[in-house]
């Protein structure tokens, strides 16, 4: 065998050369697309700032379609592919299965993204990333998405193949590490998601070239969201895996208990909203029982899973910090955390933003009746910038700061800028999400070029609050984009110009030593108070719950005051 491994001098990880190259390629592609997506986001946000209204309606809808596709699909999925390879080959000290197919996957994703990008640029496919029928896009808009998805599917199989090789060649002892287990969760959901996507995108492509005469719009929405919703569960699982990884890297934190964390990942798979009901709560043609059951499976166990991770990730950090002696009071562990390290600050802002902004809002608007107040308002983009931009994107940014020296063997440039970056992006995006939710609460529509309704036969004036919220959203978006640009500058700058790491790390033909179980007994030191190992985290979790409950009932309370309908 000509397998080539090197041992990273800093982390001790074993890097299989073909895996390493593929991870780098996918991650770099991701960052480049993030740059494009962020620039489009700026154009969109500046257009929705009423006093600026930068673009005209045609370019606005074009930019918005591009922004959704490039960020939500291309940036996130390229990065997730890099993560899958990392969590299998690198963490398990194993060779990557079929690197050649890995390159086929990479090319398919690149070509697919390029084809769809061309379709959007040509202007005939400004249909938004949801491409609801019967509004047509050019055939190659769908074709590009299909090719991209096939590439991503191949990557999932390479991940699974690598797990099989690792097991067979005994490159690790015992069970999979928790982070790899989280990545496995994401990969399983991804395979299911892409299969669902094929069921809807292939017929839609055939419809666009005239082979199928009609696609039912309701059927389209049910199946499309079967993909669209599950794909968000991939992002959540991948993000949580990254949180656990960062807690381990920065603090040496170990999960509070393996059983709970793994069980919570399993809940994501079992209770993923297959029927995607929460996107369809105000659609005609679906029964009430169907909606209520499928939006919650009677007990919201996927929500429960995220609430569990929301406790166990910071809880693990807290215990690790307390064991190091930061055991005073409720929050010494948090106050004295390394807030200047972007790997940690990014992860922590991601965690808090995901919980308080994205999480609470998502569950609240997923309640059948509350959805009347929120469906298709700009509250919805507010919600998912809390989940995918503050949550997933910032978590991926944070782990990238740690990955660059490992993969590219270069130090980060501009460390001061890197230190500020998670705050700029995290706070800018959080504020933007918050103001979009505010504007949506007072009725502003999403995907809407002009809240003044220029050219209409009718007139309607939104409240001053609505206008203020949209202006504040514009300002926050500028901060967010500066933060996003700072990330790209630091990462690209480091890859190109960072100081080379001198410690030797040569590729060798020998198989690296297997990944072993830690020696410790598994119990946690005698920390915490009142029998609770992580009292600070517990208090924070209770704060989240109180906000959640109060906000939930405020919405039902408002709903009770409006027109009656049934």
């Amino acid at each position: 065998m000509s397998e080539q491994f090197r041992i990273c001098p800093r982390s001790g990880l074993a890097l299989h050369k073909p895996a390493e190259t593929l991870i780098k390629a996918n991650a770099v592609a991701a960052v480049v697309f993030l740059l494009v997506g962020g620039a489009l986001g700026l154009l969109v946000a500046l257009t929705r700032w009423p006093a600026v209204q930068l673009l005209g309606p045609d370019t606005f809808y074009q930019a918005l379609t591009g922004h959704g596709v490039v960020t939500l699909l291309v940036w996130i999925i390229f990065f997730e592919v890099a993560l899958l390879y990392f969590c299998s080959a690198v963490l398990l000290r194993c060779r990557l299965a079929t690197p050649k197919i890995g390159w086929v996957a990479f090319l398919l994703m690149m070509v697919g993204a390029a084809i769809t990008a061309v379709a959007i640029l040509q202007g005939g496919s400004s249909v938004m990333f949801t491409s609801y029928v019967p509004m047509p896009a050019a055939p190659h808009f769908y074709l590009g998405l299909i090719l991209f998805a096939v590439g991503a599917l191949l990557a999932c199989f390479i991940f699974l193949g690598t797990l099989v090789i690792a097991k067979e060649e005994k490159t690790y002892e015992g069970s999979l590490p928790l982070v790899t287990y989280g990545a496995l969760t994401a990969a399983i959901i991804a395979i299911f998601t892409i299969a669902t996507g094929a069921v809807i995108l292939i017929p839609t492509f055939l419809w666009s070239i005239g082979y199928i005469s009609e696609i039912d719009p309701l059927m389209y929405r049910v199946i499309w969201w079967g993909m669209g919703h599950s794909s968000q569960q991939i992002n959540v699982a991948a993000m949580v895996a990254v949180w656990y990884a960062i807690a381990a890297l920065v603090f040496g934190a170990k999960p509070l208990s393996e059983k709970v964390s793994r069980g919570a990942f399993l809940l994501y798979i079992l209770f993923i909203c297959i029927a995607s009901a929460h996107h369809l709560l105000v659609d005609p043609g679906l029964g009430t029982e169907w909606k209520i059951f499928n939006t919650s499976y009677a007990m919201y166990l996927a929500v429960l899973a995220s609430m569990i991770h929301g406790l166990t990730v910071p809880g693990a950090v807290e215990v690790a910090q307390r064991e190091k002696g930061l055991d005073k009071g409720l929050f010494e562990w948090l106050r004295k955390a390394p807030w200047g390290n972007p790997v940690f600050s990014g992860m922590f802002i991601s965690l808090v933003g995901f919980g308080f902004l994205g999480g609470i809002s998502g569950v609240v608007m997923g309640a059948e009746q509350i959805n009347f107040l929120i469906h298709n308002t700009i509250y919805v983009p507010g919600h998912f910038h809390g989940t995918v931009a503050v949550g997933t994107t910032l978590a991926f940014m944070a782990v990238t700061y740690w990955l660059v020296p490992v993969l590219f063997r270069r130090e980060l440039v501009l460390p001061k800028l890197a230190q500020w970056q998670p705050y700029l992006f995290g706070i800018g995006t959080s504020l933007s999400a918050f103001f979009m939710m505010g504007a949506g609460t007072v009725g502003v529509s999403r995907r809407h070029w002009d809240m003044g309704f220029a050219g209409s036969a009718f007139e309607w004036e939104y409240s001053g609050v609505a206008y203020t919220m949209m202006a504040l959203n514009g300002v926050s978006a500028v901060i967010a984009v500066i933060g996003g640009a700072a990330f790209v500058v630091v990462i690209v700058g480091s890859i190109l110009f960072g100081k080379k790491i001198q410690e030797p790390s040569e590729y060798q033909a020998t198989q690296p030593s297997p990944l072993v179980r830690p020696q410790e007994t598994g119990g946690h030191g005698n920390v915490g108070a009142a029998g609770i190992v992580a009292p600070g985290t517990f208090v924070l979790a209770l704060v989240l719950l109180v906000v959640f409950v109060v906000y939930y009932f405020i919405n039902y309370g408002y709903l009770a005051t409006v027109w009656h309908f049934s």
Partner: protein, 180 residues
């Protein structure tokens, strides 16, 4: 670094679970159950629900119904485009049509009376957003959605389209009057 390493115990699923975790799981699960029961609860005790009533239709069938109503109950015309203002009797079936880029016709309803509001689209998907009460609903071509409504306050309400429907989506407005 144990989230990056295999579990310390080979039989990790027998490890004891921390008290903090157990308590939190319990609390969170109770809250999840409350949220579930709130939805059927509101169907029984709340006044803002959608029963799911809907029928298959076609643009031809639906616009015929709309025209029939317009012919019978138009009380005046408004706007530069001479839109009919229709005041159908309380309790009746009222039709609202969505098309690129109008809500047609203007409706005039009575406060406190109940109407069966039938909505469908002639072309693409649209979103019915009633302002300023901010009640939002999806409108699909081929489906006739029936929302039984009782306006509880008099005034002028705007119908905004909040499902992207092409280049003049932003200009798609309509109106409902609610009179005392």
């Amino acid at each position: 670094m144990s989230a990056l390493q295999p579990p310390a115990q080979r039989i990790w699923w027998n490890e004891p679970v921390h008290r903090a975790e157990l308590m939190w799981i319990g609390i969170a699960l109770v809250w999840c159950l409350i949220m579930f029961f709130m939805m059927p609860f509101w169907h029984v005790f709340g006044n803002q629900n959608y029963s799911g009533e809907a029928y298959r239709t076609t643009p031809e069938q639906f616009s015929a119904k709309v025209e029939e109503m317009v012919d019978q109950y138009t009380v005046r015309r408004e706007t530069a485009r001479n839109f009919p203002v229709v005041a159908p009797p309380a309790g009746s079936d009222v039709y609202l049509l969505a098309r690129l880029w109008d809500w047609y016709p203007i409706l005039e309803l009575k406060k406190g009376e109940t109407y069966r509001l039938n909505i469908s689209s002639m072309d693409w998907q649209h979103g019915l957003s009633i302002q300023p009460i901010n009640i939002n609903s999806q409108v699909l071509p081929g489906y006739q959605k029936v929302l039984t409504i009782t306006p509880t306050e008099a005034g002028e309400y705007a119908l905004v389209c909040n499902e992207y429907c092409g280049i003049l989506h932003h200009a798609m407005l309509g109106k409902i009057y609610v009179t005392e």
